[in-house]
């Protein structure tokens, strides 16, 4: 840490918090460093759809001014943050990656955004994503491709690919992502960062543009497990504006991360899920991913964890169940884009009636994957098909949940790879929905059961990041942070540096 502006983008949130609280650096310096880095490097990465620029500097200046007058500020005051573009932000463009919301300025803010603002964080901008979060590579954005900082010919994961690329590429110290079937964990895994999907209902969905309401959760994406836990504590907790919000206090998540980093896992029982890359279930898994997973499990065992293999046979049904439930709920949620109250209206020339204008608006405003899923969901919810598809899939969720329940009777957490492969090349799967959906294979069970799950880096395969997924029972998010922090600390110590340090600085950065 030399105090130069370009170095500030490589400091984690815990470090920025210390520098800001002690007055060693100002919030304006921290924000300017990130804005400069975005200006220099986001043309290459394409992580942001909108950058706040002057508004971010003004917010940072207000923090500095408050500090100068002796106001009592929280530990995160002046720390910049990026939000996935489906987090509604008052007066700040919010598109959900779709042309149908191009130019829309929301009249209110999501609870997640409000809580981060109340903690004094500074909004840098809104990050790119698959349209309405439907995708696993961010290639379904209606606006731009986002590139993986480790290899710009490869995808940054999805749907929160702008958020993952921004954090891994040092264009933001941390970000908010959302996860419906893996959209926080999978992009975190392929960019070498930490991403946590909270227990369903533990982070408010108020103001998150809905995709599949029984699955959607917002959560932290960060460069360290501790930073992710700290962000989770800011955004989590009961919100009366979300009727699915759970009214119980959050566990002490940052403390759990610190406890894990201390490196003692004696007494912790870790279950390795056979159906997710274990014996007889390795089809589609890359050898490098399986090797990093095995090594990570050995590290946990070396810290004292008791490791056993467990079987969850219903997990094989997770992918088909998910691709019925999510499109069904999406087809209902996306009915609100009718070209009347907000967003795009197409073909309103005075001669067409409302039905025609609505159909033209939706045809013009939605991209192909969104249309595919609306049509599939409409089919699955049709009279005569509902029981066979949506109803059946909701019952499969119960089977998956029972498998988790049986496993958690014997172990404290379950582990698996986060994704069967490393980041694939841009364009490789765009014309093959089934191949694209396979990227979510490992993350879907916890999504369908509503359970917390984290992805933490486990190493590199062919120079590209691999993630380990740690899943826990409902409302036991602290276990994810503890185990992930233990792995992170042990690997950082063995390596002598953080995995992301191997990414280096781009040409031109000091």
């Amino acid at each position: 840490m030399t105090g130069t502006s370009s170095d500030l983008t490589r400091v984690d949130v815990a470090g920025l918090s210390r520098l800001l609280s002690s007055g060693e650096v100002s919030a304006v310096e921290v924000t300017r460093a990130h804005l400069d880095r975005i200006a220099a490097d986001d043309g290459r990465l394409g992580a942001y759809l909108h950058v706040e620029d002057d508004a971010a500097l003004a917010a940072a200046a207000a923090v500095d001014q408050a500090r100068a007058t002796g106001a009592e500020l929280g530990p995160l005051a002046g720390v910049p943050v990026a939000l996935k573009d489906l987090v509604v932000t008052e007066g700040v463009p919010t598109t959900s990656g779709s042309k149908i919301l191009e130019g829309w300025l929301p009249p209110y803010s999501a609870t997640v955004a409000t809580r981060l603002a109340e903690a004094g964080t500074v909004l840098l901008g809104k990050t790119n994503m698959d349209e309405f979060a439907m995708g696993s590579s961010t290639e379904n954005s209606a606006y731009q491709v986002t590139r993986n900082p480790w290899d710009t010919d490869r995808i940054p994961g999805g749907s929160s690919g702008g958020s993952s690329a921004a954090v891994a590429g040092h264009l933001a110290p941390w970000s908010i992502g959302t996860d419906t079937g893996g959209s926080i964990r999978q992009p975190a895994a392929v960019t070498g960062i930490v991403g946590h999907k909270p227990t369903y209902g533990s982070v408010s969905r108020y103001g998150l543009i809905a995709f599949s309401s029984s699955l959607d959760q917002a959560g932290p994406m960060a460069r360290t497990v501790l930073d992710a836990a700290v962000m989770h504590e800011v955004i989590g907790g009961h919100d009366p504006r979300d009727s699915t919000s759970i009214d119980t206090p959050l566990a002490r998540l940052a403390d759990a991360a610190r406890e894990g980093a201390a490196g003692d896992l004696r007494g912790v029982r870790v279950g390795v899920v056979r159906e997710l890359g274990g014996e007889g279930h390795t089809d589609g898994y890359e050898p490098g991913v399986l090797a990093r997973t095995r090594e990570a499990i050995e590290v946990l065992a070396g810290l004292g964890a008791e490791v056993t293999e467990v079987s969850c046979p219903s997990f094989d049904l997770a992918l088909p169940a998910y691709y019925l439930i999510a499109p069904s709920e999406a087809s209902s949620n996306l009915a609100r884009y009718e070209g009347v109250r907000f967003g795009l209206r197409a073909g309103d020339d005075g001669s067409r009636d409302l039905d025609e204008v609505m159909a033209l608006t939706r045809e013009q405003g939605f991209g192909p994957e969104v249309k595919r899923r609306i049509i599939l969901g409409t089919y699955a919810l049709s009279s005569g098909y509902y029981d066979a598809y949506y109803g059946q899939a909701q019952k499969v969720r119960t089977l998956i949940t029972r498998d988790f329940g049986a496993a958690f009777a014997d172990v404290d957490v379950l582990v698996s790879p986060t994704m069967p492969t490393v980041a694939f090349p841009i364009g490789a799967r765009v014309d093959d929905p089934i191949a694209m959906y396979a990227a979510d294979l490992c993350t879907l069970p916890a999504s369908l059961a509503g359970l917390p799950a984290i992805s933490v880096p486990s190493g590199l395969s062919d120079g590209l990041p691999v993630g380990l997924q740690v899943m826990a029972p409902a409302l036991a998010d602290e276990r994810c942070y503890r185990i992930a922090a233990a792995l992170e600390a042990a690997q950082d110590a063995a390596r002598g540096h953080r995995l992301l340090d191997e990414l280096g600085a781009p040409a031109g950065a000091a």
């Binding site: 300025l105 929301p106 009249p107 209110y108 227990t199 369903y200 209902g201 029984s214 009366p240 009727s243 699915t244 759970i246 219903s314 049904l317 992918l319 088909p320 169940a321 691709y323 019925l324 009718e338 070209g339 009347v340 109250r341 907000f342 967003g343 209206r345 309103d348 009636d353 409302l354 025609e356 204008v357 609505m358 159909a359 939706r362 045809e363 939605f366 192909p368 249309k371 595919r372 609306i374 049509i375 599939l376 409409t378 089919y379 066979a388 598809y389 059946q392 899939a393 909701q394 019952k395 499969v396 119960t398 089977l399 949940t401 929905p433 089934i434 059961a449 509503g450 359970l451 409902a474």
Partner: protein
């Protein structure tokens, strides 16, 4: 589980208020058929006596106090509408000439 034809897709697109093109009909019919084949295994799951689920922590009868809280003003709402006139959202006609 059944397959999905081009005509089915056209019908579903109408129900979904999507003015899809002929080219999209051809493409989507093939792709949706593939997706349906991939999800067909759900139909084979033995779930006759299994209840459906939507939430890891089931909640019932979530109520809030019946109190007036701030809501969006008319001007703010109209500012976000694609077309407004005389303090109202302007919409295309909803009835045909003959109706």
């Amino acid at each position: 589980m059944s397959s999905i034809s081009r005509e089915d897709v056209a019908h579903l697109a109408r129900l979904s208020r999507l003015a899809v093109t002929d080219e999209e009909l051809d493409r989507f019919a093939g792709q949706l058929d593939q997706v349906l084949a991939a999800v067909a295994r759900v139909g084979e799951a033995a779930v006759a006596d299994v209840p459906p689920m939507t939430h890891a922590v089931p909640l019932t009868n979530v109520l809030r106090p019946d109190e007036v809280t701030p809501s969006l003003s008319r001007d703010v709402v109209l500012a976000g509408a694609p077309a407004a006139e005389d303090g109202r959202i302007r919409v295309p006609r909803i009835l045909g000439d003959a109706e």
